[in-house]
């Protein structure tokens, strides 16, 4: 199979597409961890809510593109409310407690989508402009999946420049390195946290929308993606943008190829990979120096 160029092309594109999806999810999670030192276990729930909001937008406005704009904003709004109501007041408490609150939210979120949208699976149609397939190096490949890859690359580039060139980016980079130092410089860290958290939620919502036409939407879609995302973050090194990129790529590829080449190990490969990485590098591939 590995000698079949068609297989390699299609499979590598599949891997890239999963990598990009994981990147959209892991980057927000990772940067929030870097700045605020807590892992949002409800990140997968945000992804799921993004997909469901897309479903509703498509029903009301009959347009994927409206959904692509509205649903991530809706998720960001939910994130903002969550931050304002709960997280902001928990800043001084142990990070573990914040993690536990988000853990409780998984249960709440799961049943909440069942109440609102029911338990049967749904899908939304692929937008007409991206429906169908194109030929890549002689292989038929769905156009929409190429769109996901392109979108991921775009977000990656935008984030890179945002972090390097903007003031917020500078605060974030500094905040990941040493939070107290930034606060001591008189910068409103609180506001930066808030914006970064909302951006992370927006990206999770975006991931939910773009994956909705490819994967079916159902209660429980949050958990499988959450665990994969957490693994990406841990493998890459929490807090590191580079780590999120490389981690997404490695996990996306290993998962995609591993499923087919080592089906007996399909459930184990990713976990074993993470365990191996942690044994060699207990802080992940790209550890962020934890000065605080």
């Amino acid at each position: 199979m590995l000698l079949d160029p068609g297989f390699l092309i299609v499979q590598t594109l599949n891997g890239l597409q999963l990598s990009m999806l994981l990147f959209l999810l892991s980057i927000g999670l990772s940067v929030v961890f870097g700045m605020m030192n807590f892992i949002n276990l409800a990140h997968g729930t945000l992804y799921m809510v993004g997909a469901y909001l897309a479903l509703s937008s498509v029903r009301w406005f009959d347009s994927y593109w409206v959904a692509l704009v509205l649903a991530p904003l809706g998720v960001a709004l939910i994130g903002a409310v969550f931050y304002a109501v709960l997280l902001r007041h928990m800043q001084r408490q142990s990070p573990m407690r914040q993690v536990l609150v988000t853990f409780g939210l998984i249960f709440v979120g799961f049943d909440a989508v069942r109440m609102v949208w029911g338990a049967l699976p749904h899908t939304i149609p692929i937008p007409a402009a991206l429906d169908g397939s194109v030929t890549v190096f002689g292989e038929i490949y769905p156009t929409y999946r190429l769109f996901i890859i392109a979108l991921g690359v775009t977000v990656l580039i935008a984030l890179h420049f945002g972090l390097e060139r903007t003031r917020l980016g500078a605060v974030v980079r500094a905040g990941v390195d040493d939070r107290r130092m930034v606060a001591a410089l008189g910068i409103d860290v609180e506001r930066a946290f808030f914006l970064v958290f909302c951006l992370g939620c927006w990206l999770a919502g975006l991931a939910g929308v773009v994956s909705a036409p490819v994967f079916s939407i159902f209660p429980g879609m949050d958990m499988s993606i959450l665990i994969l995302t957490l693994i990406v973050v841990v493998v890459g090194g929490p807090g590191s943008l580079k780590g999120a990129v490389v981690g997404s790529f490695v996990i996306g590829m290993v998962d995609t190829y591993g499923q087919v080449l080592a089906p007996e190990l399909a459930r184990v490969t990713i976990y074993a990979l993470m365990a191996a990485v942690l044994l060699v590098r207990p802080q992940g591939l790209f550890p962020v120096s934890q000065a605080h």
């Binding site: 993690v99 536990l100 609150v101 409780g104 049943d111 693994i231 007996e264 184990v268 976990y271 942690l278």
Partner: protein, 328 residues
């Protein structure tokens, strides 16, 4: 909560009395629930040793629960061993698993520890899910309960079996209480509080962490053995990460670092789950019975509320209240 803990004996006594009263004159169903509570209390207390004392927050504790359950199933169904021997074997298997896995997992800490134990749990789950010798995802059935005919009792009677599990839970509590009161327990707490200082004093920290991990795993395996005997059936979902999560919730709700808090958490969780998923409960309090199918929603909210309002759990809250009362 670690340190001076003047309430654990009265609360433990209260739990024992409550269990006794509930058990006495209970019907079949109540005995079933009591056994379930006792088993989860054992599991939660073993996790509390890790979380509350050693400071190792594990999201993979169900791995030992499942390992103990499957070991019991294998020994009784395949080899025809008596249940007592199978229970010992189950504890041994879980301890061995914990020893092997522990060598790796204790090298990391904090959120990494959560992740690597989660991975451990999922690997064990995946193994049982795929293992055709253990019936794959359908699991294994036909696990007997201990033969007590020598003393004239029948363990298949829920009344007898629930008494057995309650006694076991009490025994585990006494054992763990001894452990955390020993120099070993004091060392775990010291490592939790300031690992680098303890290390600087020349103490072999990894060895202590490993010992705690193995002990917790062994007791988790014991709980697994009991759940296998309780339901007469094992399936991979015993090892699923949500089970680990639920046990962690028990420890948090009850209050970590006191053992008795974990047991209290198990009582609350099991009862809540039974009531919230019971349609008659919702009808009785005048709300739509359909809420019973959304019990996870309600439980999630309760959990969040407890984390927010009583960060030290129910037992911690009790302790604070008691201290305040005594001061005034």
């Amino acid at each position: 909560m670690i340190g001076r803990d003047p309430l654990h004996l009265p609360v433990a006594a209260a739990l024992v009395i409550a269990a006794g009263v509930a058990w006495y004159g209970g019907d079949f169903f109540r005995h079933e629930v009591l056994a379930e509570i006792a088993i989860y209390a054992i599991l939660a207390m073993s996790l509390d040793l890790l979380v509350g004392y050693a400071g190792l927050v594990s999201l993979g504790h169900a791995a030992f629960f499942a390992a103990g359950a499957y070991a019991t199933a294998a020994c009784t169904v395949f080899f025809g061993w008596p249940v007592s021997a199978a229970t010992v074997a189950a504890v041994g298997c879980a301890a061995a698993l914990a020893a092997v896995a522990g060598v790796f997992v204790i090298r990391v800490s904090g959120v990494f520890f959560i992740m690597i134990t989660l991975a451990l749990g999922q690997m064990v789950y995946a193994y049982f899910f795929k293992a055709s010798e253990f019936g794959k995802d359908d699991g294994m059935a036909g696990i007997p309960r201990p033969d007590l005919s020598m003393i004239g009792l029948d363990a298949t009677d829920p009344q007898v079996f629930s008494a057995l599990t309650l006694i076991a839970a009490f025994g585990v509590w006494a054992l763990l209480r001894t452990v955390v009161g020993s120099p070993f327990g004091a060392m775990l707490v010291a490592i939790h509080r300031n690992e680098s200082r303890v290390r600087a004093l020349g103490c072999p920290v990894p060895r202590y962490k490993l010992a705690a991990f193995v002990l917790a795993g062994a007791i988790g395996g014991f709980a697994g053995s009991l759940i296998a005997q309780h339901s007469g059936f094992v399936s991979p979902d015993l090892g699923f990460w949500t089970v680990s999560g639920e046990v962690l919730i028990m420890v948090i709700i009850g209050g970590m670092g006191s053992l008795v808090g974990a047991a209290l958490g198990a009582v609350v969780m099991v009862l809540l789950r039974h009531e919230l998923s019971h349609r008659a409960f919702w009808e009785a309090i005048g709300l739509p019975a359909d809420l019973a199918s959304y019990w996870q929603f309600v439980m999630g909210l309760i959990f969040i509320a407890i984390v927010l309002l009583a960060g030290d759990g129910l037992y911690g809250r009790l302790l604070t209240t008691w201290r305040r009362l005594r001061r005034s």
